[in-house]
Amino acid sequence: MKGSFRRDIGSLDDLVRFVEEFFSAEGLSPVDRFAVDFALEEIFTNFVKYNPGGTGDIDVSLRLSEGELVLAVADPDSGSFDPGRDAPEVDTGKPLEERVPGGLGVHLVRKVMDRVEYRHEESTSTVTLYKRLGENNHA
C-alpha cells in the first residue's frame, strides 16, 4: 500500500488513517499498531523538520514480507540525512536536570522496530523499517 502525504505536521492524522487501513486490509493485530504509528511519525516529522527547503510530498509505503512488516518513508527532495549516523547518541540514564527535550525520536524508533535501513539515491532519502509482527508484547 502506498501513499503520498503533504510535507506538514498536519499530515499526521492522515498517516494514522493510512496505517489503520493497512492493518485492517491485512487483518493484522492492533497490538503492533503503536510501534508502526510511532516509527512513521518520528521519521516523517524528521524529514519535515530537517529538510525545511524540501518541496513536494513525502511518500510512505507499507507491505508484508515473510512475516515482517516493512515500512518505507521516502523524501524525494532531500539532502542526505542518515538517522543512524547523524542523530546524536542519547544518554537515557542522565538525571532530570541534565535531560533536554528533543533528540529521542530515532533512539526510540530503533527500540520499537527491529531494523532500520537508510538509502540516499538521486536526491531521495529513504528510511526503511522492519518489524516482525506478533512478537512484541508492548511497544
Binding site: F38, E42, T45, R99, L104, L108, H138
Partner: protein, 94 residues
C-alpha cells in the same frame, strides 16, 4: 487529536493521541502549571517523542520548585516508551 481535561480531583486527564501536531497546544497547558499534578493516562492511546518533550519540559520546570508530575494509569505501550527513554527514572509512574 488530543484533549486535555481537568478531573474532579484537580488531576489532568489526557484523552486521545499526544503527537507532534498537538505539542504546541499541550505546551500551553503543561508549561503554565505552577504546582505538581497527577496526570491520568487511562484514556491516552499514544504518545510520540514530541509529547515526551512537553512532559519533560514541564517536569524540569516543576522540579525547580520541588514538585513534579505523577503519571497514573499508563498503558503498556506508553510505559515501554517511557522506559526506553529513561523517563521512568524521572517521572513517578503508577
Amino acid at each position: 487529536m488530543l484533549e486535555i481535561k481537568a478531573g474532579e480531583n484537580q488531576e489532568i486527564i489526557l484523552v486521545g493521541r499526544f503527537d507532534a501536531a498537538q505539542a504546541d497546544y499541550a505546551k500551553k497547558v503543561f508549561l503554565a502549571l505552577d504546582e505538581g499534578k497527577v496526570v491520568d493516562f487511562s484514556r491516552l492511546e499514544y504518545i510520540s517523542s514530541a509529547g515526551l518533550g512537553v512532559l519533560l519540559a514541564a517536569q524540569k520546570r516543576l522540579s525547580e520548585r520541588g514538585q513534579g508530575l505523577r503519571l497514573v494509569n499508563v498503558n503498556p505501550h506508553i510505559r515501554d516508551i517511557f522506559r526506553f527513554s529513561g523517563f521512568d527514572q524521572i517521572f513517578e509512574i503508577e
